[in-house]
């Protein structure tokens, strides 16, 4: 439905986007992820027509819209700061993008009901809570029946509890309406729960595209891996066909000479008994609420790594044994 091809963009000498290509399918929820400053917002703005690329093209349903003005695109844009018109009521905000004929009570009623804002039509934005403002911003974007809905860090201004609730609601609604959506978020749980597919960006390039589970399970780099969760990272060398680390050796196929091993902490099994391949000393144990954070040091004292675990019975000074299933280890050259 939407195809972005070879898009480049620089501000003066600073290149922010290099040769970006991606496609979003009809009805799909597509997420752009990456650390701040990676260019994801710029890409979003180019898609919305708020900025124009230096090179490349944006196509919607086969039509080149690269130079089309934003007001001709009918893309609903929900800004990070929401950008509700402070001088207009909820009703006026929602009707803002509609022609006079389209501004019916029926339409208003439907949109308000859909976003859970029934009864608030005559309020001004400053009379609403943060979550309600969020709903109005979404309602306003949905009101124009957008070709594509664009959400820029939509939940970042909300506190954790509210965010989780609202995210589930919005997620459900978007699925139900089957609206093609592009979402920018630097938060892993947003991307995972909402997105059908996602693209990870780093310094103006797309480094990986795929479904959330693929990107999580098989990240192409440590950058991608860390973006979506904690990671145990071990330096290793190849010795006698085995992967040798400061914490012990693992039997792994197809090893280069020097490499790094990445393991998601939830795949690590801990034991106090010596029946596993890796071992180390517990240096610190930090209480982290739902889980503990262990700092584990190698026997020779050269290397340490951090491991998030369930509530652990080990204490500082204990020797600890770790089991790592071979299929959950990623080898990076």
């Amino acid at each position: 439905m939407l195809r972005v091809e070879n898009v480049n963009k620089s501000y003066g000498k600073l290149a922010v986007l290099h040769d970006i290509s991606l496609s979003v399918n009809e009805g799909e929820i597509f997420s752009l992820a990456g650390e701040s400053g990676c260019g994801k917002t710029t890409l979003l703005r180019i898609i919305a027509g708020l900025e124009y690329p230096d090179g490349g093209s944006v196509n919607l349903k086969g039509v080149d819209i690269t130079q089309l003005k934003p007001e001709k695109r009918r893309f609903g844009f929900v800004f990070q700061n929401l950008a509700l018109f402070p001088h207009l009521t909820v009703r006026q905000n929602i009707f803002f993008g509609l022609k006079r004929k389209q501004r019916t009570d029926n339409k208003l009623h439907n949109i308000l009901a859909m976003t859970g804002m029934t009864g608030y039509a005559e309020r001004y934005p400053h009379q609403l809570s943060g979550g309600q403002q969020q709903r109005v911003a979404l309602a306003r974007a949905l009101a124009i029946d957008p070709e594509i809905l664009i959400l820029d860090e939509p939940f970042s201004s909300l506190d954790e509890l509210l965010k989780a609730r609202l995210r589930d609601e919005v997620f459900g609604l978007l699925r139900e309406l089957r609206i093609t959506t592009i979402l920018v978020s630097h938060q892993a749980d947003d991307c995972f729960q909402i997105a059908d597919r996602l693209a990870v960006m780093k310094t103006g390039r797309i480094v990986q595209t795929g479904t959330p589970s693929v990107v999580y399970q098989s990240p192409v780099s440590t950058y991608v891996a860390y973006l979506f969760g904690a990671m145990v990272l071990l330096e290793g060398t190849k010795k006698e066909g085995m992967a040798s680390t400061s914490f012990g050796s693992l039997a792994l196929p197809d090893l280069p000479d020097r490499f790094r091993l990445m393991i998601r902490p939830e795949n690590v099994v801990i034991s106090n008994v010596n029946d596993y391949n890796l071992s180390g000393l517990v240096k610190h144990k930090t209480f982290k609420g739902p889980h503990d954070l262990l700092t584990i040091q190698s026997k020779d004292g050269d290397a340490t790594f951090l491991l998030e675990t369930e509530r652990s019975s080990s204490k500082a000074g204990d020797t600890i044994y770790l089991k790592v299933p071979r299929e959950s280890v990623l080898v990076m050259a």
Binding site: A48, G49, L50, K69, P70, E71, K72, R73, R74, F75, G76, F77, F79, Q80, N81, A83, F85, P86, H87, F96, G97, R140, A141, I144, I150
Partner: protein, 501 residues
């Protein structure tokens, strides 16, 4: 409180003096005054709005050649007092002016007449539009960019976005700029007198200086004052209505490349050219043409007089402002009490002629002999009118110093007054200098108040320039006018720095 007295006096005298002397006025002249004043006000409101808002909009939103330079240069016309620009334009277009000399060299001639109501609107608007420009630009620059972008993504064109989103949100700020324009037009005496347009201000002059009819002058002052009060109330209502502040993390507007770059360029060049370049050019042309040594020597005396008046007023204004603000600060008065103490701020809104008549009526009431007393009355008049300028600047300066600093100094054993001298005043030095200069310049430009309250034969740069023009010797006014413009350009620089922060 003393600073409010002249205004209060107008009110008191209006209600206590017999109303019999108005007869001739109300039947013939009053409709004329009302008609002309309203016409001038309406005209200059429209022209300054169009010029000020449009230039501010393109300078904020679009990128075009010399945008950065225009940003501050568009304020420059403010340095030219209305009457000086009026004199220069008449000189430019009359028989001996450069336009017609040039045309005659091609054996062609036209008759240009600036000296009517439309000419006055043209001249005044071109030097007053910066009030609207400055207010609008500050308001536009504060706009959150995403509001404009969201409007466009919802299908509204740039023009619709401007009228439906930007204007409603920035209107209170623009209005406050517009009010300054209205007050300047009401205050104006030079232009309307020179162009022969009878208005309230010329009426006040005529009543007092020509006819010696103080009650009539008080009556006219009272009417003018009513207009001013209505405006002030309107401002309070509009500003109080809704106050939208944008959140800190919002992206501000950044200039875009415009397809109509040269259109923007010409739009900005127009007011700058006709509001500043043309009058200054005309004055320079005169100055070069009439470089008699004598007129420059005479200027030295004028400069001395003007500087003395300016420095006295500015010094007093600064000292009083420090005293006021510091007293507020240490006493931590409640808001309502502070509002009461703001009453002297009204002086800035009151036309100079009205203040002058208030002071005259005060003096006449106390002891008519005193009217011939030196420059005290004049300085007092300036102080009433311009105190607000210094006070506003200094108060906002004080407000930027966190109160914790006072507490810290107090905890270190500094007493009230040594705190002021050791902590606040050193921190406020640039603010104090800025306030001093702004008051000084306003004094140097002020014409009507000076004309009424000055001692006999006492001339300042402003009265001198105006007197020459009135006596059909306009070229000789050039040195004084240029000096005033030069001095006035200084706070324009300050104003711009204040804005760009």
């Amino acid at each position: 409180m003393v600073l409010v007295l002249p205004v209060a006096f107008i009110l008191i005298r209006f209600f206590s003096v017999g109303h019999s002397d108005w007869g001739s006025l109300s039947s013939t002249l009053l409709p004329l005054y009302i008609g002309n004043t309203s016409y001038l006000l309406a005209g200059s409101i429209v022209v300054t709005l169009v010029l000020g808002v449009s230039t501010a909009w393109v300078v904020t939103l679009y990128d075009f050649p010399f945008r950065k330079q225009f940003e501050w240069m568009l304020i420059l016309p403010l340095a030219i007092p209305t009457y000086i620009s009026a004199i220069a334009y008449v000189g430019l277009t009359d028989y001996a002016g450069p336009i017609r000399i040039l045309l005659r060299s091609f054996d062609y001639d036209i008759y240009l007449d600036m000296m009517d109501r439309n000419g006055a609107i043209f001249v005044m608007s071109l030097v007053l539009y910066p009030y609207v420009y400055v207010a609008s630009r500050a308001a536009f620059a504060m706009q959150s960019a995403s509001l404009i972008e969201v409007s466009r993504s919802l299908g509204r064109s740039m023009r619709a976005t401007f009228t439906r989103v930007v204007l409603p949100l920035t209107w209170p700020a623009i209005f406050s700029g517009l009010i300054l324009v209205v007050m300047e037009v009401l205050n104006d005496y030079g232009v309307v007198q020179y162009y022969g347009i009878p208005t309230f201000t010329t009426g006040i002059f005529r009543s007092w200086l020509s006819l010696g009819n103080l009650p009539q002058a008080i009556f006219l002052s009272f009417l003018t004052l009513t207009v001013v009060l209505v405006l002030l109330i309107a401002q309070v209502l509009i500003q109080g209505q809704k106050n939208y502040t944008i959140e800190k993390e919002d992206r501000k507007l950044t200039p875009l490349r415009s397809r109509y770059q040269w259109g923007c360029f010409i739009l900005c060049l127009f007011p700058l050219f006709f509001g500043f370049v043309v009058p200054v050019f005309q004055l320079l042309w005169w100055a070069v043409k009439v470089t008699e040594l004598e007129s420059w020597v005479f200027s030295a005396k004028l400069v001395a007089n003007t500087s003395l008046l300016g420095a006295m007023t500015a010094g007093l204004a600064v000292i009083l402002s420090i005293w006021f603000t510091y007293t507020f600060r240490i006493s931590q008065l409640p808001r309502s009490a502070r509002a009461m103490l703001r009453l002297p701020m009204v002086g800035y809104a009151v036309p100079g002629a009205v203040i002058a008549i208030g002071i005259v009526s005060m003096i006449v009431w106390i002891n008519p002999e005193w009217i011939y007393f030196g420059i005290t009355a004049l300085v007092f008049g300036y102080l009433v009118r311009f105190f607000a300028v210094g006070f506003g600047t200094i108060e906002s300066g004080f407000d930027k110093i966190p109160y914790q600093l006072d507490l810290a100094a107090a905890s270190l054993g500094k007493r009230t007054f040594s705190r002021l001298f050791k902590v606040h005043l050193p921190l406020l030095k640039p603010v104090l200098i800025g306030a001093f200069i702004m008051v000084f310049v306003d004094v140097a430009k002020e014409l009507p108040l000076t004309l009424i309250l000055r001692p006999f034969n006492y001339e300042t740069l402003a009265t001198n320039a105006f007197q020459y023009a009135k006596d059909e010797m306009a070229p000789r006014s050039a040195p004084s006018s240029l000096l005033i413009i030069f001095v006035s350009a200084v706070p324009v620089y300050f104003l711009n720095k204040l804005l760009s922060r």
